[in-house]
């Protein structure tokens, strides 16, 4: 997995690419932890994400919890398979998916 990061003032776009699984989720978690200070609009762009397991979901949930206290978070570029995962896990109701 690689992580693309675009910051524009208090807006941050994070785009993980490849596989977000048990092995790579801690990377994204660390990246978010280090970058969210002062961010009020977070976009997580999943266009290039191929695979997402529950470890990845946990990172997304944790980011959502943080953003609930300081601004807004949306998730973009969700493909059909990943959308299905969001749906069965109830994440489609928690996350703002565009």
């Amino acid at each position: 997995m690689t992580i693309q990061k675009t910051k524009n003032g208090s807006e941050l776009i994070i785009a993980p690419e490849g596989r977000l699984d048990t092995m790579t989720a801690p990377e994204l978690e660390a990246e978010l932890k280090a970058s969210l200070d002062g961010v009020t609009a977070l976009t997580i762009d999943l266009t290039e994400l191929e695979y997402l397991s529950s470890a990845g979901l946990r990172v997304l949930l944790s980011a959502q919890k943080t953003m609930n206290n300081q601004g807004e978070m949306k998730v973009t570029g969700v493909n059909e398979t990943i959308m299905e995962i969001f749906e069965v896990t109830g994440f489609s109701d928690i996350l703002t998916i565009e």
Binding site: S54, A55, V88, T89
Partner: protein
């Protein structure tokens, strides 16, 4: 054992024996026995309807005077009384058995000890030639039960019946066809038979048996080989004995008579039957019996294999060769040939003893001996690598359960799924499930220590179904018992975690768990 020179007196017991007539019954018995001296007594209980403790005491006193006392034809209600009061352990008590006629019934199997007949649609009876049939039936029942508990699919008899002068055990076998019959009548299923036959053999060989539950097969073979030694040239016989002695002991199961008549397809389930030879030992002993069955016994006469198995010698040889190749998991003729020669050595050594004791065709025994004498100088050991053979099946892997190995497991699964053209979406979903389960095992099964997990992938059926099985020997844990997370809660209320098994359940069509033989076994199924 009853001394056959001894006179046997059979006395019938009838009606009720209770405190009201026990004294009278005892007096009657004494009168019948008076002056008979050293005889064996059998009480025929076929007309006995009831016996109270007063009656039991009468029997005990007879038993004291005639230690070989035997009670036969006991109806089941009375047998229960004998069982409850411990009489069945003190003396021979034989149940009354239902009579079954096998006249005109189809013979569906035949082994060294008797024939198997189909008595009606789904029921078969296995008859026993030997005089001591009841204890044999008892033994087979016990080992079949043990095998079943250890995970080997087999049939267990549900009734013992009288067949002519002997006994039989009755099994329910739905629409059963032996593999011999399949090979003879449906040659297009040859490859399928090889695959299933070897899969079952590997399953048996990978089964660990608790100590003392099954006899070591090696002892039986050694006894035979030591007798064969005496008919072999000086030095060669010794060599064969030494090599046999050097075969390592094992606590893994072997069948002892694993040929295609003993493997049946019942409905769509493959079962192993004829469990009386079940033992523990090195796999070479099963291979030895297989070589004998397919080649050894019929080595100089193709009619024998046709008569015994129902398929011809060419099929038999091909089946043996393909099965061995599959078992060893190789197409390398050099490797197969090396193992085959070891197997042949042991097989001839065992057969020569069997043939000599059973007055087999002298030419055949001579042929075995000639072949053995040719082979022995070329062989230095009877063992071969079992680990790669038994565990290295292409659809199974055994890895240390650590998250570092997750990618290895995913790659292994993906390779199998790609081989069957699994749609991308299903593959990704199954990867998610595999990750959840494997990571779970890695994090919790052996904590704080480490251990291995076995991952197996099977693809079968129509619609195509993928079955993924995870086996670990860690702490017993049923992940399906975990409560599903509440997916309707808001982000703030949601707990981080608890999602993995829930997703797995949603993604797969079926998830089941069992704890067996100290193993957590989690099976995931999905139609693709």
């Amino acid at each position: 054992m009853m001394n056959s020179n001894q006179e046997i007196l059979t006395i019938a017991l009838a009606g009720r024996i209770d405190s009201g007539n026990a004294a009278q019954t005892e007096a009657d018995l004494q009168a019948r026995l008076a002056g008979k001296g050293n005889i064996s007594v059998i009480l025929d209980a076929s007309e006995l309807e009831y016996i109270s403790s007063a009656g039991l005491r009468v029997i005990l006193r007879v038993k004291k005077a005639y230690p070989e006392l035997k009670i036969i034809n006991v109806i089941s209600e009375i047998y229960e009384i004998f069982e409850m009061t411990g009489f069945t352990e003190m003396m021979t008590v034989e149940k009354a058995y239902r009579l079954v006629s096998v006249e005109g019934c189809e013979v569906i199997g035949e082994g060294a000890n008797g024939k198997v007949y189909r008595i009606d649609g789904d029921n078969v009876v296995k008859t026993y030639k030997n005089a001591d049939a009841l204890s044999e039936i008892q033994h087979e029942r016990e080992v079949a039960r043990l095998a079943l508990v250890l995970g080997i699919p087999t049939a267990i008899s549900y009734d013992v019946v009288k067949v002519g002068d002997s006994y039989g055990s009755v099994f329910e076998l739905l629409d059963a066809k032996s593999f011999s019959k399949l090979l003879a009548k449906e040659p297009e299923r040859f490859d399928w038979c090889v695959a299933e036959y070897v899969k079952m053999l590997k399953k048996i060989h990978s089964t660990e048996v608790p100590e003392g539950k099954l006899p070591p097969f090696k002892e039986k073979v050694l006894t035979a080989i030591r007798r064969t030694k005496d008919v072999l040239p000086e030095g060669l016989g010794e060599k064969l004995v030494q090599m046999t002695e050097a075969i390592p002991e094992s606590d893994h199961m072997i069948h002892g008579d694993y040929h295609t008549k003993n493997i049946v397809l019942a409905g769509d389930e493959v079962l192993v039957i004829d469990m009386d030879t079940l033992s523990v030992g090195h796999p070479i002993f099963d291979l030895m019996r297989m070589y004998s069955a397919y080649i050894g016994y019929s080595e100089n006469d193709p009619e024998i294999i046709l008569k015994f198995q129902g398929f011809d010698q060419t099929t038999a040889r091909r089946f043996w060769h393909e099965s061995l190749a599959e078992y060893l998991n190789t197409a390398d003729e050099q490797v197969i040939g090396d193992v085959e020669n070891k197997v042949r050595c042991l097989s001839y050594g065992y057969l020569i003893d069997w043939g000599t004791r059973h007055h087999a065709d002298a030419d055949l025994i001579l042929l075995w001996k000639t072949r053995l004498i040719e082979l022995l100088p070329l062989i230095d050991s009877l063992t071969f690598e079992v680990a790669s053979a038994a565990a290295g099946a292409a659809n199974e892997m055994d890895v240390e359960a650590t998250t570092d190995n997750l990618q290895t497991v995913i790659d292994f699964i993906d390779a199998r799924l790609e081989a069957v053209d699994c749609p991308m979406k299903s593959q990704m979903q199954m990867d998610i499930a595999v990750e959840e389960i494997f990571v779970n095992i890695a994090n919790y099964a052996y904590a704080p220590g480490k251990g291995n997990a076995t991952v197996r992938v099977e693809v079968s059926g129509d619609p195509v179904t993928v079955t993924i099985t995870f086996i670990d020997r860690g702490v017993p844990y049923d992940p399906l018992k975990k409560e599903d997370p509440d997916v309707t809660l808001s982000a703030a209320e949601r707990e981080i975690g608890g999602l993995g098994i829930f997703m797995t359940k949603k993604i797969m069509d079926d998830v089941s768990y069992e704890y067996k033989n100290g193993q957590n076994i989690l099976t995931l199924k999905k139609k693709i």
